[in-house]
Amino acid sequence: MPSSATLQRTAAVECRALVKQFGETRAVDGVDVDVERGQVLGLVGPNGAGKTTLLRMLLGLARPDAGTIALLGRRLDTNDPRLPDGVAGFVEEPRFYPYLSVRANLELLVRLDGGGARPIDGALERAGLARIARQKAGGLSTGTRQRLGIAAALIREPLLIVLDEPASGLDPAGARELRALVRELARDGVAVLLSSHDMAEVEDLCDAVTILRRGRVVWDGPLERLRAEAPAAVRRLETSDDARALSLARKLPRVRIEPAPDRGLTVSAGGADLDRLVLHLAVAGIAVRRLEVEQTPLESMFFTLTEGPR
């Protein structure tokens, strides 16, 4: 594609002051999003934060009430929201024509993309669907449909790919393959914008994160900065004497400890402070029976940003 060189120098996504209102509710409220070429941006937020609505507007499925969207340097015309070539993706669960085979679905989508020699076989192979290409799409599991959604995006030879919770419905092996695929796409210079609930997935895949809460951006920036600003991990601690352990830990600086709702204790402390706590417990004759991460630092940050008072 001769335009690629120019497009490579252009931001993949530039959204400014996007607003989408449903009745009295502002699902998206003045959101700015930027994704660079080769960047993987995670769009994170609890249910109802406006992630899917934002992605629908990016893909031309919903008209913004205000604001602008530019994809690969081209401003999206809300009156004729034709998705530009080079942009692909899906929102929510990808859906297909159930009475057609996997391959026939992709063949039709290629025609809707303007035809030409599109890499259907390659996309089927990369999405792990080559063996079931003749199977009717109606009988596919949620995870396999998810893979087909990814194949349907890949045949557009995207420069920007938008994925809405792509690992949802995939088994662990499928999720691992998906992550490898996203990394590979990013290495090839494809911009990836993915929404997710799963902070571990975001931490594993993304270079940058935008956190939404009730339609607004509450944090955005590189993942390193999020890590640096994140509080310590929250751990579950179970000991031979939780009451004494609680009393002892409360005397230590920079250690936050509370009784857990069911049993045991929840501890939040940095690495050195946690080591000191464990040593103190041992010296006091209290055995540590269980110590495991309950919330990673990013999860803690996520909950702080999305559940705390605003």
Partner: protein
Amino acid sequence: MTESVAAAAAWRELARRRVGVVAVCRVELRKLAAQVPLRFAAAVCLVAPFAFAAMLRVQQAVPADTLFGRWVHASGFAVPLVVLGFAGSWGFPVLAGLVAGDLFSSEDRYGTWKTALTRSCSRFELFAGKTAAAMLCTVGLVALLAVTSLAAGLLEAGDRPLLGLSGNVIPAGHAAGLVLESFGLALVPTLGFTSLALLLSAASRSGIVGVLGPAIAGLVMQLLSLVGSGEVVRTLLLGTGFDAWHGLFASPAFDRPAGQAALVSLAYILLLLGGAWVVVRRRDFAGASPEPRRRWLAPGCWGAAAAAAAALLAVAAPLGPPTVTAGRLDAAITPAFTSLAALQQRELGHELGGRTSMKVLTTCSRRGASTPYRGPGDDWTCAITAVAPDLRQLPLNYDVDVRPNGCYTAHGPTSVGGSTLRGRGAGKLNPLYAFDGCFED
């Protein structure tokens, strides 16, 4: 060149790769061909005429209450016209619903709107491609029905000449052309019903409404055409176009109804497709489903509006000059009887020396009706006086059933003979026993 100018130039280059309506149409045709309703409709169009012809052969009875029905064993060209008569009553609206009634709503049912709209085609291309596919399928199915019913008729009764609606004998080649032309005329209102199915499918997002809607609309239009005797509402009804072919078989042929039907159908097509496009263009695929109560609000409003329109048309049905008048009936029956009497005599082996040698006078009126000289009904009586060249007069009273579309069936007295001829023409239908005709409204 600045970055933004370069990007714009690049996009212009990409924009050249437009998908186009033809590509979308081909996609939709492939989708339609893979689905049961279209296959079922095609199978019916392929098999039903032959099944009908086989049934006629087994039963020996004829559908005498349908135009050309009494001639199905006499001419192979009568069978496709009987099929066309049935299809125009309810078959074509059902066909239109099957083809187009689920075209937009199936995208909602399968959740595939977002799949289609996140490709390179615009909304207009999707809409136009779907519409073109529905229209092409409709044309294909009507053409298939025309060909199969003509073939079934020829197999059943051969290519003997057809008796027209003015008692005129239509030679085989001309009759075949007229049969195909009749199906062509019926295609135009059928495309109107296809447009209605597309609108219902897009607006209601329900396949049931889209598939059944045109059939119900067709029935309502038939009822409306029976309610009043005025010409205005009848002309404005889409279903009236299904009768436009009658004029082709009269002598002289009249084509005003065909022209009117084409204009009315075109207006329906433009209005209905315009409405469907507005619905699709304005729709937001934001994923927020309305509350259950609101979900039924829009279809409810549409239903109420349709019922109100039907009621309004029913009230307005008597408006305008009447379609059926005694003068028109007299003028139609006189030449028909003259031609049929000449035909009867020829079949019996009598030489009359041409139709000009017999004069026919006809006077029609209704028995006991409040409007004795107008309006459809089965209570018409036509007093026909045939004056032979030797001035011998033969008075005959025919009971005539006149339908709102300007077609009639005349049943003769016993003095014209039985349903079949005796003597030299034995076994042949007696053309004066009962005959059908149509007059221009």
